[in-house]
Amino acid sequence: MACQDVTIQSASGMSMVAEAPAPIAGPPPPLIHLDHHGDVRVAYVDSRGDMCVVAYRPSFGPRLRRVAGSEVLPDAMDIDVEQISATLYSLGKLDELTLDEFVEKYLDRRDELAFRALRGEMLTPSEAIVLQMLNSALERLLPKSEPLPAHVNDAIMEVHRLLGD
């Protein structure tokens, strides 16, 4: 399976780009959107250059909705849409997690994927998405670092102003 960057858009509208090796050539990366019903929508450009959208709810089975052009399933795509969709669906409830629940359910998986990515191992697109989703959820749960005190920030800005930076 070749890898490509995948843009994820959450129900809140925030977009993230999973860090995966860039494709050498080919269609633009698919846009994966997790809506507020937990449905996954994958927008992609098919092999004929037409824009398509797949809406997928794991419990009902996949269904295809034409937006423009062909109704061809994404057979030309390099990613496993169903696998990604199912993963996104299962992770759709991450917003409701507490830190303890995250640790119990997802910490091992996150750390394993993060370790592999950091050491330079190539993650599959779906693994990269899972890591991105887990990191996004974890970031909100971790204690925050203290920012620089306000008077320090003011002094730093004053330096830049004085010296024309």
Binding site: D111, E146, L163
Partner: protein, 230 residues
């Protein structure tokens, strides 16, 4: 070479509890610097490098004590992970065998690179996998903003120092010197971060930081470098 030397622990007697060593640790860690991420945090806690659950005999052993911030010492990070035996009550599948970084033993500059925008990454080489594993375990990659702030502070001090040396503009010089008086104590409190990650400080500024640290009786001086921040 590790850059932190704690020196002999104070003798509080055989019945001393670990909390009594807090002030000793605070002095050696520049007053509230976390031993793992090296970010200043007023809420640092006394951390048992070997967790209490695994090493009950070392609960009050000062050689087992470090300072940890709530982030690094929290459930999602080091928590009760055994730093030497790669075991953890909630994480039994990890068979990598890597040990948790120890600022008293490890040279962080051989393990990690910190970019000017605060991003941390494993340094290529024989330690890369262990460094990657520690970044993943301790979630060091979630602290880019804090590292970036520290570097921003350092660079501003370097710029102010340059401005203070400008002989042609006495007013600018005086203003820069005034700002340095405000910023250097803040920079000194974060000096261990720069030292441990080998972020270079200009010699003139390093001398000022060290003078500030000496005035506060803090150990672990910043090493003056011949080059500026990379």
């Amino acid at each position: 070479m590790p850059v932190v030397t704690l020196g002999p622990a104070p003798d509080f007697g055989p019945a001393a509890r670990y909390s009594e060593y807090r002030s000793w640790l605070l002095k050696h860690f520049f007053d509230h610097i976390c031993s793992y991420c090296l970010i200043r945090n007023k809420a640092v806690q006394v951390d048992h490098y070997e967790p209490k659950v695994y090493a009950p005999a070392r609960i009050n052993d000062p050689s087992n004590l470090l300072l940890g911030c709530p982030h690094c010492n929290g459930r999602a990070c080091k928590s009760d992970y055994h730093p030497l035996h790669a075991s953890r009550t909630s994480r039994r599948d990890d068979t990598t065998g890597f040990s948790v970084i120890d600022v008293r033993v490890d040279d962080f500059a051989l393990l990690f690179e910190v970019t000017t925008d605060g991003h941390i990454r494993p340094r290529p080489g024989p330690n890369k996998d262990r460094a990657s594993w520690n970044i993943a375990l301790l979630k060091l990659d979630f602290m880019d903003d804090a590292r970036k702030s520290n570097i921003k502070l350092l660079r501003a001090c370097e710029r102010a120092m340059e401005g203070a040396m400008d002989d042609n503009n006495a007013e600018l010089r005086a203003r820069c010197e005034q700002i340095l008086l405000d910023l250097i104590p803040e920079l000194a409190q974060r000096a261990l971060f720069f030292k441990v990650f080998d972020i270079r400080v200009t010699p003139r500024l390093a001398a000022r930081i060290n003078a500030e640290l000496a005035g506060q009786s803090l150990t672990n001086h910043v090493t003056a470098a011949s080059s500026t921040l990379p």
